[in-house]
Structures are given as C-alpha cells and as structure tokens.
Symmetry: C2
Subunit: 683 residues, 2 copies
Amino acid sequence: MVLERVKQLAQQVSNTVSPPHPLDPLSALEIESAVSLLRAQHGKLYYNAVTLLEPPKEQMVKWLADPEHTQTPHRIADIVVISTDGKVFDGHVDLNEQKVISWAATPNVQPLITMEDLQIVEHIVRTDPGVIEQCALIGIPREDMHKVYCDPWTIGYDERFGTSVRLQQALMYYRPHVDDSQYSYALDFCPIYDSNLQKIIHIDVPKVRRPVNQAPPNNYDVKSIEAQGGFRTDLKPINITQPEGVSFSLKGRTIEWQNWSIHIGFNYREGIVLNNISYFDKNENKLRPIFYRLSLAEMVVPYGNPEHPHQRKHAFDLGEYGGGYMTNSLSLGCDCKGSIHYMDFDFVNRAGAASTIKNAVCIHEEDNGILFKHTDFRDDSVIVTRARKLIISHIFTAANYEYCVYWIFHQDGTIQLEIKLTGILNTYPMNPGEDTKGWGTEVYPGVNAHNHQHLFCLRIDPSVDGQKNTVFQVDAERGPGEVGSEENFYGNAFYAKKTKYTTATQAKANYEGSTSRTWDISNENKIHPYSKKPSTYKLVSREVPDLLPKEGSLVWKRAGFARHAVHVTKYDDSQIHPAGRHVPQTSGEPSAGLPAWIAANPSANIANEDIVLWHTFGLTHFPAPEDFPVMPAEPMTVLLRPRNFFLRNPALDVPPSYARTPSQVAAGKSGCNSCVDKTSVQV
Amino acid sequence: MVLERVKQLAQQVSNTVSPPHPLDPLSALEIESAVSLLRAQHGKLYYNAVTLLEPPKEQMVKWLADPEHTQTPHRIADIVVISTDGKVFDGHVDLNEQKVISWAATPNVQPLITMEDLQIVEHIVRTDPGVIEQCALIGIPREDMHKVYCDPWTIGYDERFGTSVRLQQALMYYRPHVDDSQYSYALDFCPIYDSNLQKIIHIDVPKVRRPVNQAPPNNYDVKSIEAQGGFRTDLKPINITQPEGVSFSLKGRTIEWQNWSIHIGFNYREGIVLNNISYFDKNENKLRPIFYRLSLAEMVVPYGNPEHPHQRKHAFDLGEYGGGYMTNSLSLGCDCKGSIHYMDFDFVNRAGAASTIKNAVCIHEEDNGILFKHTDFRDDSVIVTRARKLIISHIFTAANYEYCVYWIFHQDGTIQLEIKLTGILNTYPMNPGEDTKGWGTEVYPGVNAHNHQHLFCLRIDPSVDGQKNTVFQVDAERGPGEVGSEENFYGNAFYAKKTKYTTATQAKANYEGSTSRTWDISNENKIHPYSKKPSTYKLVSREVPDLLPKEGSLVWKRAGFARHAVHVTKYDDSQIHPAGRHVPQTSGEPSAGLPAWIAANPSANIANEDIVLWHTFGLTHFPAPEDFPVMPAEPMTVLLRPRNFFLRNPALDVPPSYARTPSQVAAGKSGCNSCVDKTSVQV
C-alpha cells in the first residue's frame, strides 16, 4: 500500500502540466512524494525539513543561459529527520528518479527547533512538578498553572548538557488574564526541556528570587486601549489603488518589472531567496546578470546581561528556528496596501505531511517619491520624474520579536534590503529598587528589558556581468601632500582608496564610519567605456555595529560570521549557512560555517573568481519604555548600487511627471506633461 | 509721496485681520512696509534680504506659554542691503513702531549672492572680450557666443582678491542646441565677475587647454529620450487619494497632526524652520515641548580636486545663496502625491519689491507601512497597525544640484530629516586619454565629475520638557571582565556608555560607527518613572563622514562647523548661522560662526542649560556614469527618537488594521477589524 502511494505521487509529480523552475521551492506534492519514498524505506520518522536542494551552480548557470537545449536539473529534496530513537539523519531524494540518493546518520548535531517542537513545551511545563514548585515559590498557586506560559528557545549552548541531548530553554511568563501581555510578567526561573524525552530535565533558579510582578497589566489589545480612553479618531483614510493593475508580470515564480528579472524562491530557513537577479539593459540589448543569489542566510541576537543563564539568550533565528517556518500568513491592507500578489509556502510537518503557509510572500509596488529632478535656474525649464519601487516581502515571528523583511527593487538599478524590527522586547523580572547594573532598562515597573544586538548575515552571491567577480574595500581618504605643498596647496584633495581582496584570510573587514567605507563587487573583465572602471555593484551599509560579545566568548565562537562586517569566500555549492548546517547546541569549538570554510582553504584566490560576500549588519538595542509593551517598527537598510555598471542613469526612460525644455519655455509652450497621476488634490 | 506710501503700508499691516504669529515669516506687505521706511530714510538701495528677526527666545517662551496674557513680541525685519556705491548695511526695522531701530555699515563682508545677482553674469560673460577670446581658443567661434552659458558661483575665497570686492566665479558651459544639457560641455577656463562693477575682472586659464567636447549630447529631455527608443510603457498608475480629506489641521502656520504641534516658518537662508515642536501627551494630559527650533542652518560642498582653481568649489549653499531663495515652486502630483497643502514664501527682490514663490512648502501625509505588529505563535492572535507620516518639504536648486528636504513626523514620536540629492553633477572637461588622477570620474566622454562631499549642518535647539537640557554621547561598549572572569564569564556583557558634555570646548565629537555612537539630548530634571533615566530625544545619524579637506585647509578654516559631527553651545539669540552671518568671501581667518563662538566662551557650562546642538552629517560622493546626465535621487536620513520621554509606546492608540486576542481566537470570533483601508486588492 505504501508503495502504491509512492507510485501514485510520483505519477502526479511528473504529470504536473508546467514543470517547476529548477529553483522553485518544493511543492506540497513533491514534499509528500519524497516523504512517501522515505517512509517506504525507513518507516516512521520525525521530519525536521524537506526542502529543495538547489542544483549545482555550474549546472544552473548553463541551464539559465539556454534552458531549451540544456538538460533540466533534477528536482532533489534535501531532508533532515529525527528517528524515533532520537538519531539525526541527513539525506537527499531525487524526485525525478524517485530514489534516495544519500542517507546517513549525522552524529552529535541538533537540527533546528520547529514550530511543532516549540508548541509542545508549554503543555509540559504546566504539569511539571518542579515548575509548579518554582511557580509557587514566586507567588503563583498550583491552580493558576493554566496562566503560566513559556516562550521556548533553543538552549543555544549549555556546557553542562552539550550537544547530544536535544534541548530547549523555556523562558517563563505569567498572564493574569489570557488576553494580558505576558511580557510584563516574566518569571525568574528557567526550565530546560528535553525534546526527545518530552520532559523537563533541569531548572535554573537564580540566587535572588523575584516574585511575580504585581504591576497592573501593560496591554495593547483593543479592549485595553478602549478602556484607557480609546483610539484616536482623527485619521482619515489614505487609499492606494491601481485601477489598471500592476506593472509586473510573473511566469511561475520569475517576476519581470521595470527591466528587472528575478526568480523568487523561499525555504524554511532563509525565507525569501532571490535568484538570477538580472536587468535588461537597453544599451547592450541584453539581460545582464547581477546576483546569482541573495538571501538573509543567518542572524544572531546576543543579549548583554552577563548573569547566568542569560548568556544563553543569543538566538540564531534563521539557523535555530527557520525564518521560513516562522513566516506569517499576510493579510490584505494590513501588512501591505495596494494591489498585492501573494505566494504560498509549502513545508513538511513533523509527521511528514505537507502543510502550507498561505500568503507567505507579498509582492507589490509603491510610489517612491522623486526619482530625479532638475530645474534650470535661468528659465525654470524642468524635468521631474517620480519613482516606483517593487517590494518582495515576508514577516516572521520569532517568539517575542517580529522581523519584517523587504527586498526592494528600484528603477535606477538599486537593490535595497530593508528590515523592520517590531514585536515585543524579551523581558526578565526585577524586584522593586533592583539595580539593572546597566545591562538592561526597566521599561515598566518590575520589567527588565536586556540590552541586545540584532546581527543579520546577508549572503551575497554575485554574478556582476558573469560569475568571476572581485571585491574591493573602498575608503574615502585625504590626498597626499600637506596644506601649502605644491600637490595639495589648498589641502582639499581626496579620493576613493581601493583595497583589493585576494584571499579569504585577507578579506575580513570591519566597518569604518569615518571613511564612509563601502565595498565594490566588481567584474574586472568588463570595463566601463567612459570611466574605465570595472562594472560594479557597491555594497552601502551604515548600520554595522561591532559584535559586542568579546573575542573568545560563547557567542563569538558560535557566530563566527558576525566577527566582521565583511567576509569573502570562494564559491562552494555546499556553503549556504554561515553558522553551519545544524546550528542548535553547537559549541563553537571549532566554529562551524564561515570560520571553518576559511580555515580549510585560507589562501584560496578570491580575485576574479566565483565568490560569495557575507555581510553582517544590524543594530544594538538599548531598550526604552517607548519600546513597550509593543515596539514601534525600527527600520534598517542595506543598499546594493550600480556603479560603472550602466552606461548612464538607466532610469532616464521612466516617463516624467512634468518636463519642459528651454525652447518650450521661450516659445511659451506648456511642455510635456505625461504625469500618470491625475488624482492628487490641493487642500 | 514716499511718506504717504509708508503710512499707507503701515496702516495695511496693522489692519490685517488676524495678526501674524510672532514666528511667521514676513508677509509681502510687511516686507514692502520695511522697504518703504528705509527708502524714505536712505533712498535707493539694493536689497539683499528682508527677513523676520525672530523674537528673543526668552520673550517667545513666555508668549508661547501664555499668549493671552503676554505682550506679543514686535515684528522686526532683519535687513541686509548694498548701497549704490557698494557698501553693505545691516539693520533692523520695528514694524509695529514703524521705525528703523538699527542701521550700520558692515565693513569687509559680502552678503549672499541672490538669484538676481546670479542671473546677470551670463549676459556679461557672453559679451566680454576676454571670454570671447578664450572661447575661440577652445573652438567656439564668436558668432556662437549665445551658446555659451555659465553657472555663476560665489567665489568662495580667493586670496588674490580678498573680501572687499564682491565677486562670483563663472563656471562655463556650452550648449550645441538650447535644449542640450550643458554639463556634457564644460569649458576649461573660469572668468571672475565683479558684482558691483558688473564686469569680468580676471580669467583663470589652465596650463593644459581642453578644447570644447566633441561628444554627442547626453540629454534627458523628452525629445531626446523619444529619439533613443522612447519611454517605457509598462508603468500602470498608482493613485493615492484621501476621500475624507487630510488628518492635519492648520491655524495660521501652526500645524496639528497626530498629537504633534509645530509652527512652520521659512526664511531666505535656511528654507523651512520648524519651531515650538511639541507633542500632546495623553498620559500627562499636556502639550510637551521637545524642540524650540529645528533647521538646516548651513552646508558646504567641498570638491576634492587639488588643481587650481577647483579649490574654490566648496559652496555654502545656504549661507552663500540661500536655501529659501533657491526654493522651487512645487507642482501637484509631480513633487508630492495625494492631498497637498502648500505654503508660499514672500521675499524681497533687489529693487525692494516683495516677490513670491508660490507653493514653496509642501505639506502632506503618506502611509508608512507597518507601525507595529505582533503575532502570538501559540494561536495566531495578532495585532497589526499601519503607520502614517506627515511630511513638510521644500526643494531647492543650487545651480546644477537639487536638494529635496523632507521634515517627517512619525506617530511614534520620531522626527526624521530626510534629504534627497538629485540634479546634475558639477563637471569639468577632460582631454581624450587624460588621467583624472583619482580626483574625479569620466562619467561621459570628455566629462570629468570631481569627487565631492555634501555636508549639512542641522541646528537642533532643544526644549526637551523645558529649556534646560544636557547632551550625552552614547557608545555601545563591552562590559568589564575577560571571558572566564566571574563578572563576565561568558564574555557577553555590554552596555550603553554615556559621556556627559559639560563645556563647549569638550563637546566636540566625531562619529564612531563601531560603537553605533548616538547622542542623547536629555532633561536631567525630568526622570522617567519606570526607567529612572532622564527624558530624552536621541540623535541617530549614520551618514557622518569626516570633513576630508585637511586641518588648516581653506575649507577647514571657512567651514568650522564641519570639523566635527557634533558641537554643543550655550544658547544665544544671535547664533543662528554656524559659518557666520555673511558667508561669501570669508577667509576663515579667524573662522566665523561656531569656532568663534566657542573660542569666545570656551568653558561656558552646557550641562542642564539652554543649549544648541550642531550636527554635521552628509555623504562623500565619488561620481559614476549612473549619476549622469541627471542623478537618481540619493536619500539620507537623520532621526530624533524619543527615549525615556514617553511613559510607553505613544502610538498604541492608533487604530489597528487588524487585531484579535487569544480569547477571541479561542471563541472562534473574528476579532476587531477597524482597518481604514478597504481598497487593497489581491492580484
């Protein structure tokens, strides 16, 4: 019967009318097909991930160049499971061949914690005698255990337990009423949960106890706001409509918009993955490749309170939980306004069935103010052209926090990654009069929000006019020669100092604000006919704090990617996850991912090579009461800008809103007014 | 007859039904009234500026607190004129008393160059024999002199001519056709124009000559784009409508929006001036002052080519030309979309008549994406609330460049200054094969665009819960104790290190990217009840390059404000212009403005005092062909964020787009959906 089902699913997959693009995420059907094959061979397994194994780049580049005459790469499922006796297996299933092509137990690792793994913990803690006892000690009677909640986090790494036991730490909270925000009522102890045993194996109890907070709830729900005087009534609607429809078109998951062409992938870890990002250049009359792949590949959120066990709070939200798994199902007019196209995301559940997040990805356009403008002061002849942007976004909820990820494409060739942080601060209780010692802020009576950083690792796999690229560090520097010297008499000389990166060992750099440091991703084989400079996309990023946990610290060891703002490595198909494939409970000894890859090949040439640039950026957050009980969104931006890539401003052919030449002014003519907007009004 | 006119105008002014707010710009009537009084006393004068002298702060603060029972400050015109024999006079006219209250010649200064001053130069150069000769030498025949253009700049400072003669330098261009962009055809020589004599007094001719560029035009006008294949046709309209009107209200020039209250001033130099910025705090049930005055007070644009005479290219666009004078008259749907309220700006012309820029200031709202969101991963109970922003903007054209200035107010209490740079690069010719030596980029054949910086000085006059404020420098620092020590065992400790500024001499600081340096403007007399930290607005600014001209250089001397990212001074009514009141042709010996004020009172206490914070920010621009022939707008942002100012997130009462509590989820209820937007569609 099982075999019947395998054949049936395989038939359905091959019957699919339009075959998927090789980079499309696995469909529900493909997921179930892979699972049924494994089930037939291995029986019952707990599924952690069934995701697309992207085809080797070499093969993909050939296929992308000539899909008609190139064999389509096979669809391969990359699989992580936990056996019923707690062993971890990694494997690959070839969906075209319908066979398992690799299958092996992976010792001493823990794959990420899924939403299902998380959901179980709260039920367990409520009935655990040790937890009940601790609750009683700080003022929660046994009969109120249904008011006790927990945000289960991966344990990070705890040297007392190591890697072999699959663990979560339960950050404990209390809700006086089910609709009260629990983050005003953090509890002071921390149970440790064994996922395989499904029980609490230890409770960390602080020396100084902190009874449950007695402050009134600090809520943001509708009823509470209404009770506090109600909502403001003076906001008039702003309607955004696109009566003629959107300006983009989709073939499968490949979007075309304003000369851009982008394949929109998605997986359980990184969330949105953008592939084969190209721009149709009218001057060259061809689609020019820019980035083979862009994604948020990892992140870490270290907290700055040195008291045990807060050092364990340093979530790798992508590698430990999955930015895709935690993605919100979006709703119209709430998360995005205007004319919205959504994409769903199929994933595997623990039992092996396919599940779907509806509206996981939002695609829409927005007006973006002035694209360019110039007025001639002589006669007021003018051109003014409005900008449009395309936004491909998803939002994921990592327990208390929300990350809104916006991949934005501009008409001038700029790619922008904007991340908005919102949601709720992680909190810990404090006694009346207790000193935060500077490691946190009392954002509400009895509520200590600890200092933390959000550090994101942007994986940039460039293909600027081809796969062979070079990274240059660019610093604004003063010219040689003192004031009064012949070469720099007035002392005003300055220039862009370029440092070429040639090996991965050399290519580790921090941010330098004073020189406005940027990084050029250049194709040295393609020289701009005017500037004689190589075709380039420039990384411009200004929110780049140092990793604050010290060298040699737990976080420093585990989050090797975050030690520098930029690393560059030679491309390798297997190097996607800069903190390693299986992140939970890594000790950092040795550091997985990026540091290991660089150490394995320290002098590998990265100049004029197929390379990957790993950029860590983010912010340091010292909480304030304004961030509570729910945090106004804080945006952060990284830009990738064309420099010496286009012959000239590539957006000159965007229809102007208004344009009038000197000769039209002189002749008293009104000039061209092709403004698409006739709906604005003067008030 | 003159006296008749004086009386008549005075009568009209006093008859005005609603008297102006003391900070309103002078009206056309007030300007003409002041001029007629001066004309009666002093005869013919060339008017450089007639602007509001803002009332002393002490007087204004009293009036603002209780306008009903406080004497309204007199309307005083602050006047700069040049006499027919070239002397500069500064004076004040009391419009209420109708008398000149101060009048004096100011020796050895040059007031700014007005648009009228600029307009004359091009006519003069075309007929100057020396210019005609130079044009002939590089290939422009005498009969084509009508095709010769110039962008007249202030001379900056040229030691050969000093300050006593009023000068402009004429940056020369050529247009094959009147509608061609001249910036592809810069000419290699530079005439110097005497404004009083109205003639060319010198021509700087380079050693290496560069014949006029023979490249075809590089144009962006409609006809040219149509000839090159036409405009893109795939942009569908995005309509933004506000069927119920706007959410702000105006009483005179005081705007109220979403708890904000702001007086919108404007003058010829700074452009928009925002005064008395306050927020109605529901918790305290009062309007809380935050900033007494915010403006862009000065800027400098140094160019990095050390070859003579390019060192003279370092425009102080506000102090040398006037950001108000150069302001564009805005048009609906082109510069801003939606429901727009405009404000005009009245100024004096050279002859003394009032002139008006219609639609100088644009006021409108925009949707701003997600304000906050949180989903409970347990049950998908959720709140999502959309943000709105209020934008008060103007755009000014400084010869080739455009500066779009957006003062943005957010519902969460954040104030954002966004500046978009667009317009056209300043260019200089280059011969085929000529080496730019790294001081510029060949952005088009024969066109050298020099490296430059745009450095803006934001004048922040705070009144955070009152006039007595203190500035703290805040750096993210690692905690003490090595990894493995008892106090920092896991090495993860970090905190916000605060450095208090106590004197103006001490309060000079550069930006530090690695510590995410910010500055707190705090009221130490008002402590937050929860956090026990002082009420604060935090300056967050990430685009803060060093001033690249060297210490002791011409620009360093003239632009003293730009030597550091932050200066703090004790408040003084007379200290508005950080490079001095009259900027053109200052030598910088001694440095006017900020350095002089600090030197005059080096140990003045600035802690818990009435203070001003001067913040210099901006960017360093290494041009690329993508910036030509007209530059896609490049945005830059500075934030002022409330920290420990509000009791909690002040935007919790913004109606959510969607909200559903755990109990509603459990009961299967749909939750509150008060989403104001019913117009979004799924495509």
